[in-house]
């Protein structure tokens, strides 16, 4: 069988990835530049017996996917800035109640209504800290359609493995750009399905008692095990508790299950880094321009390379350190005021060698923009 090849938008590549991963339920509310995801799914999901619903707002959409996940389904919602803000309370609920779910944020310019049709990467910190309280979660991103597909599949796999919400932080350029996508054969990319409990009917099932490996087997609503799910701090039965030991134990579990697996979750790509003295660090659509300028400067003999981050949270500090610590110049290319740059500075010994190459005017950062900023950084004038 030949692999299916499509020439499509990034948003549709995300749809293909989600369906490949086994998506069964989508709830959403229209917002530019993510709307195409829900439009495609309204057609595709019922055709495979899945469910699609346009809810009354983004809050309701986030809540609905959590409800559907508890009946055993793989679930998705998609939005952009203002809608992502609205989802934050329920996103925290998914963290607390350990509900596998995937949330796409196709970033646009903010704050507030901002610039709906222009690109930005300004929601990196919001993805990590948008909901209140100490917590951890996973955020992935991608710079091209093949990776949008792969990261979407990965997002579902991680959500199921760690019982966690996973955020796919795309941006307007990747979401709307048209590019080739080769859809892998079924089975080519491994799919993680829900881990269900082996505890029999009539035996006490503990929905919130982690196994030795830290994983918590689930039981679908409607099945033989009836248990309580709550956003309150809870014991192993899911019943509310304010016992200090239980509070401490639960918070540690929620954070550790992600942070202790940071190295497994860390995904990235390297280009020309073996001998690079100048290392660009970038992600999402900005990484396209970064790669472009790296290739053209390499042709001129400059020792420059690119570290493209695909996992943004938990922040892959070890990877960044490995590739950037010895470089004379580390330049973070992003379309915000330095949200990833801050994190890179904390990962290396010499923060004064870390620079920011950015644009925050809604215009896509070009290879020439990066080249000019590099000249400035290196004191060569423009």
């Amino acid at each position: 069988m030949t692999r299916r090849i499509k020439f499509i938008q990034g948003n549709e590549a995300c749809v293909e990835g989600a369906l490949y991963a086994g998506l069964e339920f989508f709830a959403g509310y229209p917002i530019t530049p993510s709307t195409e995801i829900m439009e495609h799914l309204s057609k595709r999901l019922p055709a495979i017996g899945g469910k699609f619903i346009q809810m009354e707002d983004e809050i309701a959409s986030m809540c609905a996917i959590i409800g559907a996940s508890l009946t055993g389904q793989k679930v998705l919602t998609a939005t952009s800035g203002p809608g992502f803000s609205l989802k934050q309370e329920a996103l925290g609920y998914a963290v607390m109640a350990e509900i596998p779910c995937v949330i796409v944020n196709v970033q646009r310019g903010g704050p507030s209504t901002g610039v709906p049709t222009h690109v930005s990467q300004g929601d990196v910190m919001q993805a990590r800290w948008g909901t209140h309280g100490d917590h951890s979660l996973v955020t992935l991103t991608a710079s091209n359609h093949q990776d949008v597909f792969a990261m979407t599949v990965e997002a579902f796999n991680i959500a199921e493995t760690f019982r966690t919400p996973v955020i796919l932080l795309f941006d307007e350029v990747v979401g709307h750009m048209r590019e080739r996508l080769e859809i892998p054969e079924p089975g080519e990319i491994p799919i993680v399905n829900r881990l269900r409990t082996a505890v029999h009917d009539g035996v006490d099932y503990h929905p919130y008692l982690p196994r030795e490996d830290g994983r918590l087997p689930m039981s679908d609503f409607g099945g033989v095990h009836r248990y309580n799910v709550t956003g309150l701090v809870h014991d192993m039965w899911g019943f509310p508790s304010d016992n200090p030991k239980i509070i401490h134990g639960l918070l540690r579990h929620l954070v550790d299950k992600i942070e202790n697996n940071a190295s497994h979750i860390a995904m990235y790509k390297t280009f020309y880094l073996e001998d690079a003295d100048t290392v660009l660090v970038s992600f999402g659509s900005a990484a396209r321009s970064a790669l472009h300028i790296v290739k053209s400067l390499r042709k001129r003999g400059e020792k420059i390379g690119l570290l493209e981050l695909q996992t943004l949270w938990p922040f892959p500090a070890d990877i960044v350190r490995r590739y950037c610590n010895k470089a004379s110049y580390t330049v973070v290319v992003e379309m915000n005021m330095g949200q990833v740059c801050q994190m890179v500075k904390t990962a290396v010994d010499h923060r004064e060698r870390v620079f920011l190459a950015n644009r925050i005017d809604g215009v896509f950062i070009t290879p020439t923009d990066i080249k000019n900023i590099l000249r400035l950084i290196k004191g060569r004038g423009v």
């Binding site: 019922p46 809540c63 559907a68 009946t71 409607g222 099945g223 009836r226 309580n228 709550t230 019943f239």
Partner: protein, 267 residues
């Protein structure tokens, strides 16, 4: 099955104050479900935040205690993904009609087969007695120390206008009627709303000098009358109780199943 089989005794004593109306609703719910003879595995109870919303944790169903005001949105996800489940949503008046007002009207509009039980004590009990959209003008609350000037919603009228196909009202005084109505609501194929006038002696009762639980419940008897009764003609201020609406209209999940058939048939 015995009444106790529907309760998670492990999680008692409950957190409600003595005389709180919410415990009576729990009782009515159990009686309704017991009569229906449904398996506990087929029932999902979804609730939000408030004293009322804690009811879910005490019942031995699949229970989902969510965030303030959003229970119906979570419930919509449960129901649409597995329509064979019976989904019951107990809510507070603030939970259902203030922060959750939008989800309430949209769930009603869709006519999705979920049963919403609004436990209306006309106050925010859990946060200590602030006024709700059901408190009514002239009443006192911790945030209306002079007198409340906010007009109230009429839950029944609102549910009807939004498209709910089963709408009823009862009180904690009328326990048998409550159980019967809840049973019919659960059996109804569409969005059903049951307003249960409930008492919060701790805040609403005390602030408004309505006495303890017993006095408040007696009052519930005095200020209500069955739908269409002669008493209502003589005293239009009386609040009617009973089933106001019971309509047969397309239910959301059944309609969606037809969409699936069309999409799979490729036309």
């Amino acid at each position: 099955m015995a009444v106790n089989d529907y309760i998670r005794e492990r999680f008692f004593p409950h957190l409600w104050c003595a005389g709180c109306g919410h415990g009576i609703v729990l009782n009515g719910l159990i009686r309704a479900v017991e009569k229906l003879g449904m398996s506990r595995n087929e029932i999902v109870m979804v609730s939000g935040i408030g004293c009322s919303s804690r009811i879910s944790g005490y019942m031995d169903f699949h229970t989902l205690h969510t965030i303030h005001g959003r229970a119906l949105a979570f419930a919509t996800g449960v129901k649409l993904s597995k329509p064979e489940l019976n989904v019951i949503v107990p809510m507070g008046d603030g939970d259902a009609l203030s922060i959750g007002g939008n989800h309430f009207i949209h769930a009603a509009r869709r006519n999705i087969a979920i049963t919403a039980i609004v436990m209306n004590n006309r106050i925010y009990g859990m946060t200590g007695g602030q006024y709700s959209p059901l408190t009514g003008p002239g009443m006192l609350a911790t945030t209306a120390p002079y007198s409340n000037i906010d007009q109230s919603f009429d839950i029944v009228e609102m549910a009807k206008a939004a498209g709910a196909t089963f709408v009823a009202r009862t009180t904690t005084y009328h326990v048998h009627q409550m159980a019967d109505i809840i049973r019919s609501a659960i059996l109804h194929e569409g969005f059903s709303v049951v307003e249960v006038m409930s008492q919060c002696p701790t805040y609403f009762g005390r602030k408004n000098k309505q006495g303890g639980a017993v006095e408040m419940m007696k009052r519930m008897k005095e200020i209500t009358t069955p739908i269409g009764s002669k008493k209502k003609v003589e005293n239009p201020d009386l609040i009617e109780r009973g089933i106001f609406v019971e309509l047969d209209k397309p239910e959301y999940c059944s309609e969606y199943n037809q969409i699936i058939e069309r999409a799979m048939g490729g036309y």
